[in-house]
Structures are given as C-alpha cells and as structure tokens.
Amino acid sequence: MLAVIEREKLPVADARAGSSEAWDVLFQRYQLPLYAYVFELVHAEQPSLDIVQETFIAATRHIQSLRDEDRFGSWLFGIAHQKCIQHWRRNGREEPLDADFAETWHSTDEDPSELLVREEQEAEFMKILHHLPPAQREALLLHFVEDFSLDEIARITNTSPGTVKSRLHYAKKTLRKLLQDPTS
C-alpha cells in the first residue's frame, strides 16, 4: 500500500507507469487543496467539482508531458488554472486572471511574512480574500494552499516571477491592513 504525505515521496513515477493505486494516492493528496483553489476562483460548487474532475482526467491523459516529477503539484494546478480559464470562456466571461494590473515591486518595501489569522477573524479573512482582484487572489491562494514558490506560481499562471511577487506583495499588504484595521 502506497502512503504518501510529503511532496517528495509522491509516487509520480508509478502513476506515469500506469498504476491506478499511485493515481489514487496522488489525487487523494491534492483533491482538497485543488478544490479550495478552484472554488475560491470560480465561486460555485458544481463547476468547481467539474473542474477538479476534468483536471484529474487531463492529468492521467497527459502525464507523459510532465518533465520534472518533483513538480507534479504545480503541473496539476497549472491544468486546473487552464480549466478555470476554459470555464470562464464557455460562460462568455472575460478571463479575470488575465486582467493584469500595472504595479511595480519596490525593493524597499517590507518583505511580507506569513500571515496568521485569529479564530474570530476567519470570516473576515475570507471576505477580504474574495474582495481581492482575481489575479492577486489566485497568486495568494497558490501561495497559501500549497506554499508554491514564486517560480512555480509563475509557471502555473503563465506570468513572470516578478509579476507574481508583486501580486503577492500587494495582496498580503491589503490582507494585513484590513485584518489589523477592519474599518479601513
């Protein structure tokens, strides 16, 4: 029986060889973070479940295109990102994730540290998260949910690491500010 918790020990090679048991382990590991990521972008339960299913099926079909087995997670989230864009296109909506905003990263700015949220602020945290611009929200979700690096987030979202850094910075700044002073 394959048992996997850490990212490094994922049975990606077995899955590539066609082991359904390995796929089960991989999907079990990623199903909830993937769903959380998709749901927070799409904001609808059934479409989110459909996207997760489509992502799983696409992963089994295209596993041979995965170059680096250590990056299975970011590869899977990359597929989900594409599925979200397809979902918006099907529904005739503009792709909010592509609506980039012009901002620059100032090196003098404070480097954002990990956020910790008090229990009574959880609802507030989610509310603030929903009010962030979609591109910032996506970068933040990928950072929070899977702790992906800047490069990995850039690869998932088809943007540059600089843009991701900038989005994360502003998103965290907004979150921290609103969590400290909800009236603002």
Binding site: A17, G18, S20, W23, D24, F27, Q28, Q31, L32, P33, Y35, A36, F39, E40, E45, S48, L49, V52, Q53, F56, I57, T60, R61, I63, Q64, R67, E114, L115, L116, V117, R118, E119, E122, F125, M126, L140, L141, F144, V145, D147
Partner: protein
C-alpha cells in the same frame, strides 16, 4: 491562531465526500482502461528528452547555435568557389572540340613525312698518317708470316 491554509482547507472539507467520489470514478476508469503506454521508440525519445536534453537545454541550444553559425560560415565560403568552378567548367561541346583538335594535331604529327633526312653515314675519314701506317704495317706483317 490558524494559517490561511488551515482556514481554506477547513472551509472546503465538507466537499470531501464528493471529491472522494470523483477520485474513485477517475481511478476506476483508469483501472478498466489502462493508459496506453507509449511505444518503445517514443519511450526512448521521451527518456532521452527528459534525462539528456531537457536538463541541459541551454547548453544544447548553444551547441546548436554554434553549429548553425559554423554551417553558415562554411556555406558562405564554399558558394563563391563553387560558382567559379561552375563558370570554368567547359561545356561538352567545348570538350569535344578540344579533343578533336588534339586528334587532328596527332594525325598531323603521324602522317607528315619526316622533314629531316635520316642520318647519313659519316664521310670516310682521311687516315691519320701515323696510326694508319702502323695498322698497314701490322697487316702486311701478318700476311707475310
């Protein structure tokens, strides 16, 4: 205090039964229809790509670029030489003409009567007085003996 990850995952944990169902469906489909493994050449190609080319893609790209430059230089140098050779190359008619000319010259050389007369025998020498005399004396003596 909770991390945002904990908050996010806890918020969506109620979707887990449905996610489990989706997972089982996809995995069952996989079990019933095993993924067609790529053919041997494709697998070798993929392995080569993954193990050999992709990790040092920049080096390979630079090598390829260097080869392209070398090829470009090589062709740019051989092209004028080839053009010159092409210009110098005689046409078949010209070759034939030259050959005929050579044949004509050869025939002329063979058929033309020899202008210079064959070597005449050397004119009789006037016998040198002393040596001739000695020879005559010797022959007479021999005859008389």
């Amino acid at each position: 205090m909770k991390t945002p990850r904990e908050i996010l995952l806890a918020r969506h944990r109620n979707a887990e039964p449905r996610l489990n169902q989706i997972r089982r469906e996809v995995v069952d489909q996989l079990s019933s229809q095993p993924i067609p493994s790529p053919s041997m050449p494709a697998r070798i190609g993929l392995t080569l790509w993954r193990e050999l080319i992709w990790p040092c893609r920049r080096t390979w790209a630079m090598l390829a670029a260097a080869w392209m430059v070398l090829l470009a230089v090589h062709f740019s140098q051989t092209q004028p030489a080839r053009m010159i050779t092409a210009n110098n190359t005689s046409s078949p008619a010209r070759i034939r003409q030259a050959f005929q000319e050579q044949q004509r010259l050869l025939t002329e050389l063979i058929d033309t009567p020899v202008l210079t007369s064959p070597a005449e025998p050397p004119p009789p020498r006037n016998p040198a007085p002393r040596s001739e005399r000695r020879y005559l004396i010797k022959s007479i003596r021999h005859a008389t003996c």
